[in-house]
Symmetry: C2
Subunit: 421 residues, 2 copies
């Protein structure tokens, strides 16, 4: 056989590719469901037959079709030379990290939806995969079902990406959309999201921005080609956003979204997770409810955006299974990923230039001179329904300069939100 005939992608004889799924929770059971539901078309697109040989879970599932292939001991999987691909849908860093590393070292490709693990140990795990000429794939880790990891690796290769900004968390986007549509306060919208299954009982990872932080770290690592440490990313959640903030946003034709954003500037790279006001010129403006979207700007492509279901059992499973297909097509060949182990040093955001929406106590007549002295000429925004305060938007300035100016307002400043238009 010549190397060409030996290529996986040109194989005419269908082979069996054996998969083990770690964790039979929401995403794991979704993966089993998708592979079963779309069995024929998936096998056709793979060129081989995908067979789920094992499902690992500590629990039993009496009566469930996976009962017969359920195992409780990871060693059964890692020691079985017939297993080609491991799907890790356990979440969390431990024991997912150990299982993933063992699987890769045993020559099995791993496909995961685990953003915590990719953000914290992705560099090491990708290196093992490259050394072993197998793959560590994580399309589902950012944006659920939205294809974004593979486009960054394989489609946007002609560009130098200089900005990536995403609505990366469905829970917070649902809450903010709800607050906008109903005029409700954060706490009420959160409770409703919890009751509708769009927010967890312990919602901290979502509402404090930690989830979006890991995702923008992963996306930025791929966009700029160097490892971005999620712990270096300035992160603010949406817990301080009020119904009044949203009223002002509506008045000025803006929407408030939780944005994970990073950019390449003359001074270096910045990244942050922050609530931000965007206007209708941004394609992210119309992304509502549990939908997610990722905006990318390339130096030759210009603007692009990828939109879809950011979470949910089947959309997330769709992305994991697409990785399984890709891993099966490249069983013993590493797919190049644009993410080097070299760390990208993020600049401190104090040097980043932004505009700010600011709410202050008092009346325009009584306060505008003081505001003008501190911030220069601004256009005051008053809402008849919100007496005793007004708002304005600053010109673009360094974060550090804004902080110094804001300090002068002391307790008169009722809130501030970054403005991205």
């Amino acid at each position: 056989m010549t190397p060409v005939e030996n290529s996986d992608e040109s194989e005419d004889n269908e082979q069996m590719v054996n998969v083990a799924v770690l964790g039979y929770g929401t995403v794991g059971s979704g993966v089993v469901e998708v592979i079963n539901t779309n069995h024929d078309s998936i096998n056709k697109k793979t060129g081989d037959e995908i067979n789920i040989k094992y499902v690992l879970d500590l629990r039993d599932f009496p009566g469930d079709p996976v009962e017969k292939i359920l195992v409780h001991d990871f060693n059964t999987i890692v020691n079985d030379p017939e297993v080609d691909i491991v799907v890790e849908t356990m979440g969390g860093v431990h024991p997912a990290y150990d299982f993933t590393k063992q699987a890769l070292l045993a020559g099995k490709s791993v496909c995961t939806s685990n953003k915590e693990l990719v953000a914290s140990h992705g560099t090491e795990l990708m290196q093992i995969a490259e050394d072993k000429q197998i793959n560590y794939l994580f399309e589902a880790s950012c944006g659920g079902g939205i294809p974004i990891i593979r486009p960054l690796n394989s489609s946007l290769t002609a560009d130098e990406i200089d900005q990536i900004t995403g609505i990366l968390n469905g829970t917070t986007n649902y809450i903010l959309t709800k607050m906008t549509r109903d005029g409700s306060e954060f706490e009420d919208a959160l409770v409703e999201a919890q009751n509708n299954g769009y927010a967890e009982r312990n919602p901290e990872a979502d509402i404090e921005g930690h989830d979006a932080c890991r995702k923008i770290a992963i996306l930025s690592s791929l966009a700029y080609g160097h490892h971005v440490n999620f712990e270096d990313i300035h992160t603010e959640g949406i817990t301080k956003i009020t119904a009044t903030d949203i009223k002002y946003a509506q008045e000025i034709g803006a929407a408030i979204k939780l944005l994970g954003t990073s950019c390449k500037t003359e001074n270096g790279f910045y990244a942050m997770v922050t609530p931000g006001m965007i206007d209708p010129t941004s394609p992210l403006y119309s992304v509502n409810g549990v939908f997610n979207a990722i905006f990318v700007h390339g130096n030759v492509l210009g603007d692009a955006m990828f939109y879809g279901s950011g979470a949910g059992k089947l959309p997330t499973a769709s992305a994991v299974v697409a990785d399984v297909v890709d891993a099966a097509r490249h069983l013993h060949r590493n797919i190049m990923q644009n993410w080097s182990s070299h760390s990208l040093e993020l600049k401190d955001i104090s040097e980043m230039e932004n505009r700010f929406f600011v709410r202050v106590k008092g009346t325009v007549a009584g306060k505008i001179d003081e505001i003008t002295e501190i911030f220069g000429r601004v256009e005051p925004i008053s809402l008849p329904s919100v007496p005793g305060e007004f708002a304005f938007i600053t010109k673009s300035m360094k974060e550090a300069d804004f902080a110094a100016k804001a300090e002068k307002l002391a307790d008169d400043m009722l809130g501030r939100i970054r403005v991205f238009f």
Copy 2:
């Protein structure tokens, strides 16, 4: 060397990959510009050095940097064994077809932006590429810089796609956006588009929907896995859309877009290019100006959308160069494409079910009984600024049934537009 070490993607030694560009027009010169501008990052992502060895054009370009590598005879390129990849940015079917076929038969991968050629001869050219274990890639043929071909081939593989709907033509979207914003008539908006370089002097291919037709044929072939003949697709352009139509659309909160759409139903596959009304629940609603977007629905993924610059020198070149990178990464290995030579038989649209916006002469009082008798109960829509007529939206019905009913209205029907909500 083992096959694994022989893999292009794991090659550590950088090689020279020679490229020849056919046609130094807008896109061709963009390709040269992008490869030069982003030289370092492109080579890093390729793993090899991309070198433009030839540019083919009948014209001379004295003083242009390509002067030294300009050739007038295609044989120079096809007979040079050092040329690995041919970029075809000539447009049109001839001689692009002959050059592409010769290049592929000579073992050179071809990357193209030529939608006419892909729609008319893509099946044959892809088959030659597969037989030769090289690649015929055409990311730039649909949606300009928007990554959509590669996502369909490599990312949406877990799904059975049941709908694909795109705003696929920048010229018509610019014209419709202009008409919406200014209240202008089609002819005036067209002249303005021509003056601003957004429409050609001979705009027929755009405004009559032929361009969108080829694009939806290509996308549908990939989405459903079988060749869709563009000549089978019912195609209507935007020349009959008036300022009054747009006034009505605004009144009911809808936007009119030229849509290329295809879907899989219980009865079979349908495809058409048609102006259509969409409402804000569609992510395509906010896609304005020269931007394009492609909405895809998968049976497990749900809704997804890909948005970006649908035309323009650099965005289109960005997509072509991304193909060059992919071709270089897979120099002697065919990338699986989900497009079989088997033809997909489209159902006649007479059986397709749609809703219709209809404008009729007369007053609501004088006409509603007749309308109700023909179409059943409908909600009349009157605009004070448009006396002597009114409009309504039908319930969903077969195209053939609508045609029969519309015939009863005879000359009283002033127009009809399909409604996709």
